[in-house]
Symmetry: C2
């Protein structure tokens, strides 16, 4: 059995009551747990009601399920065949979860769906504005409903009931965490930008409306204010920056670009909207990373045709973030676009499509996947913004990029991207390649760490206590670096080497 997870069960052999040992049932259980170092156990009334039978049915050799909370524990149930937990990352665009067998501390499956709040606006501020003029209940309701679908689906896929899930760990940005908990978001977007709560929230599934085991422990990551959400804290936890001796950088690109530079002594966080970011917003054929998405591309230098790598080896239906990086790098290398991202008429491979010049990635069963010059330039704006944020941020902290020995790369870019291509187009700095460490969905990864090891709760408080936030939009150098970054790789390639 795994005794370290946030919710855990353990075998406890209690003495049977006798005329010399007349402790009440709850007191007996509490004393038994105290002997093995588990203090401050809250026993909810409705579980206390079932306790005497549970103890006697098992002849006082019990397997209580406990959830860590605050300085103590809550008794969640008395016994279950298996103990499952779910880690959940609520992104502005996508929600990802992983299902764990907590006894074995083993990941069983992962699954993701779109955030159902997208119908209220792709931009998170549009959603908050809606909450400010009408009741925010609808946004919470749609989110909870979507999460219930997500959880139900992953449970069904694994032939289990969602009521077998005894623990849920949630990370998300400050607004998403607030919507999840049904908290008031209306003070977050107006100065001085105050969330309802910064600290972590321990509650039960029943309180949140999430349809897992009603008494299941729910832990929601703390935030460090409106801009530094639980997702970033979770990402830091995942990267382990807070333990590094020398400053390390963490880049996470989701709907926003999040930047963290820090070590065991200090952590600075910066964030900024990267314009239409690297997800599905850039191009008409943009698509999140799922079956049918192009994630890798090679363009033959002779025929100018593209060889595609598609998720699930399916027919290509669109292109995801890592595919876009490959596409632009390959278009440039194959001489189809120039440094400014403009089509080179003499380069070949360009077709006319409905009166517009496009590069055609594929044409199957009459469905064409094409990219236009304008879409390439949209992408360049995003990559330029990203690098500009990165450059200005590191400089503002008083360092140079070349001094950084570890660069953790997370978010939609985190796994599967062609590092060489990302550097070639000037999106990532031109540092020795071994310094880059992919961390995938770091927010989900941090949530999984809490799920499997409650000791990291202290680590999270440690991270929070070290964080300072640096506003990114106000730096005068930002716009200059951004402008220069609209070229491939950059008009001043020297700064790419920090």
């Amino acid at each position: 059995m795994n005794h370290k997870s946030l919710v855990f069960s353990l075998q406890v052999k209690l003495m049977s009551p006798s005329t010399d040992d007349k402790d009440g049932d709850a007191d007996r259980l509490r004393n038994g747990l105290k002997e093995i170092g588990i203090h401050n156990v809250e026993i909810p009334l409705h579980i206390l009601r079932r306790l005497p039978d549970a103890l006697r049915e098992s002849s006082f050799e019990v397997k209580p399920i406990l959830g860590a909370q605050g300085q103590g524990y809550r008794l969640i149930d008395m016994k279950k065949k298996s103990l499952y937990g779910i880690a959940l990352d609520i992104g502005t665009t996508n929600m990802s979860c992983s299902l764990f067998d907590l006894d074995a501390c083993k990941k069983v499956d992962t699954y993701d769906i779109e955030n159902p709040q997208l119908c209220y606006g792709t931009d998170i501020l549009a959603r908050v504005q809606r909450s400010m003029i009408e009741d925010s209940g609808g946004l919470t309701d749609s989110l909870i409903e979507g999460i219930n679908v997500l959880i139900n689906t992953i449970c069904e896929r694994n032939s289990m009931g969602s009521d077998e899930v005894c623990c849920l760990v949630v990370s998300g940005n400050t607004i998403m965490s607030h919507y999840f908990l049904g908290l008031d978001v209306r003070n977050i977007p107006v100065t001085p930008f105050i969330p309802s709560i910064n600290g972590p929230v321990f509650t039960s599934a029943g309180e949140t409306g999430i349809k897992i085991y009603k008494e299941a422990s729910v832990y929601v990551f703390p935030n460090s204010g409106s801009y530094v959400g639980g997702d970033i804290i979770s990402g830091i936890l995942c990267s382990g920056i807070q333990k590094e001796e020398e400053p390390a950088l963490f880049i996470d690109v989701g709907t926003n670009v999040e930047l963290v530079l820090g070590c065991r002594d200090w952590i600075v966080v910066g964030a900024g909207a990267a314009g239409p970011a690297l997800e599905d917003g850039v191009a008409g054929i943009g698509k999140k990373a799922e079956k049918g998405s192009i994630f890798g591309i090679t363009i033959y230098r002779d025929t100018k045709t593209a060889a595609l790598r598609v998720i699930g080896d399916a027919e290509p239906e669109g292109i995801c973030g890592s595919g876009m990086i490959d596409l632009v790098a390959e278009l440039f290398s194959a001489g189809i676009i120039d440094q400014a991202g403009k089509f080179v008429d003499s380069g070949g491979g360009i077709k006319e499509n409905n009166g517009e010049k496009v590069y055609m990635l594929s044409e199957t069963r009459g469905k064409e996947l094409v990219i236009s010059e304008k879409e390439v330039q949209n992408f360049l704006r995003s990559k330029a913004a990203m690098f500009a944020f990165l450059y200005v941020f590191v400089k503002a902290v008083g360092m140079r990029l070349r001094e950084i020995k570890k660069v953790f790369v997370g978010g939609s870019m985190g796994c599967g991207i062609n590092l060489e291509n990302a550097i070639k187009i000037g999106m990532l700095p031109d540092l020795p390649r071994e310094r880059f460490i992919p961390v995938g969905n770091s927010s989900l990864c941090g949530a999984e760490m809490v799920l499997c090891n409650r000791n990291v709760l202290d680590e999270i408080e440690n991270i929070r206590s070290k964080i300072t936030y640096r506003e990114m939009g106000e730096d005068p150098e930002l716009l200059n670096v951004l402008q220069a970054g609209l070229f491939i790789p950059h008009t001043e390639p020297e700064i790419l080497r920090g």
Copy 2:
């Protein structure tokens, strides 16, 4: 404002958020409370949801309502005009409550009704046996329903809504506390007599089904096993025995006789069924202490007629415990009964009524209140059992009655009894009168103390840790003393002086 009550509110002036002070709302409140020494404040999710508005509506000068629980506090609400609390004593036969204005720490009213479980049996064991063969839900439901009627009535009498009540403190014997909480009672009456819980229970009104403010704090007294319930612990608290330097005695007569002998170093509790006790079970005209009950009697030595003192100055409808003590003492003093409780034919005052000899207390509007020889003897059995328990118990602890300097007298005997008469008939020991201290309904009184002062929670744990229980039914001397006690005052009056 009273800051000491179990649930209390206090004015806290928080700093308004600013760009230099961006704490979240919940964190701001917690920090503000920490500064005035209030740590570990749990904020339930549904109160957190309303917190941002509450803080801003009051310009951050808030009046949180907090309930003490375990090592910390729970935020119950943000502001209320007044703060009310209820102390409740759940007796096997009667339930009494008092309503407090917690801000002023002032008792507003008291009220009592019969325990609605009486329809399941006057004897508590009959009720538990019923729970053992069928579901015990019915017994809990009827109790909760009755308490809701009681609370609703006392609130209506004082022109307030029951949802204004934010705190409920409950004392009762172990079985009553279990029924109140809906706990399993089935292991209590069988060896080794194990309750579901010994420790105190902190919960919310919503969890119990009590219809006061849903988030109201509910505190249920702990017990020291099946025989030493929260009512006794509450009674001890009320008497203050745990602080006495020299051993003091506490006698509480309700449906059972409860005896406590102790001081600041040790406390011994004994209990026993006193047969049909001093409440309404003894005589056909027996009645609990309420309007229309005879509570005091003088019999004129010449006419042998009785002058009655009736509760509420109403028409007499029956006789309560203190009335019975007076009646028997006066019948004896007036020569109407002899030492053995038999009618003295030559004494006068005796009438024939439906073929039975009776003494007539009153005859109004054709309704006769009479007492028979058999009923007098029933009463003598009860008083004999009571004294026998007392004598044997004190002796078993290794003391003599005459050594005891303080005798607290509680229960239905506690207020209004004619001490001289109780001693004259041999029910109480013949000690100097100034040693007797009436404490009334001591179980309710202890509950009121908790309601008004949460610091006594530690005192309660202190009492619990000192208690030992002495089984009373097994002493071979008991039956001898009981037999001798069937006379007035006793066949060996010397032992009445301990």
